[in-house]
């Protein structure tokens, strides 16, 4: 609708630029950006799901499922390929989402959030007590490779992982934009507005929520694989509620408005975290909390509102009507 809408495939350009930019980034920013891209993937899943009006506080479940799945396969079969590991993670997360999704789709609002949280904590509790998987210490995995290439230089290995993470998240974002604009994406928004009316129209609200849930779970599983490859270590903390909390944090920071905002928000969070880690080693959580409060207070529609609002002004479109249809969250 209107000149405001860009073609989603144009987003390939910034992805390519971001990958090339990685060549000039200092090493420490590279691993930071990898984590940011990987977290953005989970947050993107939360945004997808939030369009149906449900916020998951347990994405750590699928994040950990992806991570543990990849780690077990890698240690069992010796698969080290980064792309393959990412796909394995996505499949693990997606399959688990397929099991849980239909059960959970009946709930809404705060109960949806609490049930997802509960399930992730069940998983966490089980992982901590499973000595076979290293209990609360977790276990290590080897360095990832790419298409048969082994990277002995750490800088090159970091860049490879960064490139794969950015490309994956970029592709996921493009897919998400296609999804948002599809009939299915619009039906998801309708579920958020009024699920009963959606059912009167002959659509299954449960099926729509389940599908979005599985997409979010797949994204989280792939992201878990990246987190594993970046740290080369996994422990039950992947499934802990504070991990899931951070993903929701990124999604709210982004403001459910634009896909690019998710990346900016994720990067901002990682920057705030590492800078406060560096300069305020004992109070980085405090800095994070203040940062979150400031964003919620001064940018109620998230970081994304900084540039989506501007675009509206430029194209002279009415600010509310089409925008309201495209947003993912109640304001």
């Amino acid at each position: 609708m209107g000149p405001r809408r860009f073609h989603p495939l144009l987003m390939i350009l910034p992805v390519i630029v971001a990958v090339l930019f990685g060549r000039v980034l200092p090493t420490w920013t590279l691993s930071l950006a990898t984590i940011a891209a990987s977290n953005a993937l989970v947050a993107l899943g939360i945004v997808v799901l939030a369009r149906t009006g449900n916020v998951s506080f347990g994405q750590g479940l699928f994040f950990a499922a992806g991570g543990y799945g990849v780690a077990l396969v890698a240690n069992g079969t010796g698969i080290t390929d980064a792309v393959l590991q990412m796909l394995i993670g996505a499949v693990c997360g997606g399959l688990l989402g397929l099991v849980i999704g239909p059960l959970i789709a009946r709930y809404s609002g705060i109960f949806f959030g609490m049930l997802t949280l509960a399930l992730s904590m069940v998983f966490y509790g089980a992982l901590v007590k499973t000595t076979l998987l290293g209990g609360s210490d977790g276990f290590n995995v080897g360095r990832p490779s790419l298409f048969g290439l082994n990277f002995t230089d750490t800088r090159e290995a970091d860049f490879m992982l960064y490139a794969v993470a950015v490309v994956t998240t970029g592709l996921a974002a493009i897919a998400a934009v296609f999804l948002f604009r599809s009939e299915f994406g619009l039906a998801s928004l309708a579920v958020r507005e009024n699920n009963l009316r959606v059912e009167y129209l002959g659509l299954s609200a449960n099926r729509i929520i389940t599908t979005n849930f599985v997409i979010a779970a797949t994204f989280a599983g792939a992201s878990g694989a990246f987190a594993l490859m970046a740290q080369r270590h996994i422990d039950p903390q992947f499934a802990y509620w504070t991990t899931s909390g951070e993903f929701v944090f990124v999604a709210v920071l982004a403001g459910y408005q634009s896909v690019s905002a998710v990346f900016v928000a994720s990067l901002a969070l990682e920057l705030v975290r590492s800078f406060s880690n560096l300069y305020l080693p004992n109070t980085w959580q405090l800095a994070l909390g203040v940062f979150l409060l400031a964003v919620i207070l001064f940018l109620p529609r998230g970081i994304g509102s900084l540039w989506t609002r501007e675009r509206r002004k430029r194209t002279g479109l009415p600010a509310e009507a089409p925008a309201a249809a495209e947003e993912g969250a109640p304001t």
Partner: protein, 298 residues
């Protein structure tokens, strides 16, 4: 038989302090519709303040009973002030926003308080064991129990009854119930909803901090305390039904007994069992055990 009794008593002791924490959480949700993630931090805050007070009193070589009383008074005072300041100074700004946003605001408060307690009290474990011997040891059907632990059961029952009575049998309680039921109608009837909000939030903080103070002599205070407590009390209020006093009591009993049972029979399943119960309850009664069904929005 003795084994069974041990589990039941341990479960009741566990349930009693959990109930006090969960009661605060459920009241805050009932009145303000906020699921307070920072609730565990107020528990930790209460425990730390209690430890400091007890240590100061002991340093002046006063009897442990004085320490116990001083600890309760100081915690009640500080918690009420912190609660009022937070509600008036911070939460007020976010009313009317999405409930997920409010949840994140309390998550931010949780993060801030987590580091604040670390800054004030450090990261090493702190103890406040002096009042623990206050009630001696009690022999109960051949089992020896620390009197302090058993004392928690009537204390929780007393607090629970008082809150129930206050809500259902006093004018103030009726006003609070009116606000819980329909805020707009209460405003139009002349209720100062702002004051009810502030008081309810402060009272919720007070209950969490009080539970922290009461358990302080039993445990070691260290970072991570708030995180564990909030996870347990979330499970309790969701099992019982958000906003329900009776629900918090039943939820606390279930969680306390389940925890004690698993500690005695299957220690590796402790956290697992509680969340399994919560997931099971949500499967069959998504609104919790004690929540009325609400009409679907059309």
């Amino acid at each position: 038989m003795n084994f069974f009794l041990t589990i039941v008593l341990d479960g009741l002791i566990e349930a009693s302090w959990l109930f006090i924490v969960a009661l605060g959480l459920t009241l805050v949700f009932g009145v303000l519709k906020i699921l307070n993630v920072a609730h565990g931090s107020f528990y930790a805050l209460g425990a730390y303040i209690a430890a400091t007070t007890v240590t100061i009193v002991a340093a002046h070589s006063l009897p442990p009973a004085a320490g116990f009383v001083a600890m309760l008074i100081s915690v009640a005072l500080i918690a009420s002030i912190v609660g009022l300041l937070l509600e008036r100074g911070l939460l007020k700004m976010f009313y009317g926003r999405d409930e997920v946003v409010l949840l994140l605001v309390t998550y931010a408060v949780f993060l801030i308080l987590e580091d604040t307690t670390k800054l004030i009290w450090g990261v090493n474990p702190i103890y406040a064991t002096q009042p623990y011997e206050l009630f001696g040891n009690v022999e109960f059907a051949g089992l020896y129990y620390v009197g302090y632990d058993l004392m928690l059961i009537p204390a929780a029952a007393l607090i629970g009854t008082a809150v129930w009575y206050g809500l259902n049998r006093t004018i103030i309680g009726k006003i609070v119930l009116a606000v819980i039921h329909n805020e707009e109608m209460s405003v139009s009837m002349g209720v100062r909803v702002n004051r009810v909000y502030a008081a309810a939030f402060a009272f919720g903080v007070l209950l969490a901090a009080l539970a922290g103070a009461l358990t302080a002599p039993k445990i070691s205070m260290q970072p991570g305390l708030s995180s564990d407590v909030i996870i347990l009390s979330f499970a309790i209020v969701v099992i019982g039904g958000l906003g329900s006093v009776e629900g918090a009591a039943v939820g606390a009993l279930l969680v306390g007994l389940a925890r004690a049972t698993s500690v005695h029979l299957m220690p590796q399943a402790e956290l697992f069992v509680i969340y399994l119960i919560m997931a099971a309850v949500l499967m069959f009664r998504p609104e919790g055990l004690f929540k009325r069904e609400t009409a679907r929005r059309i």
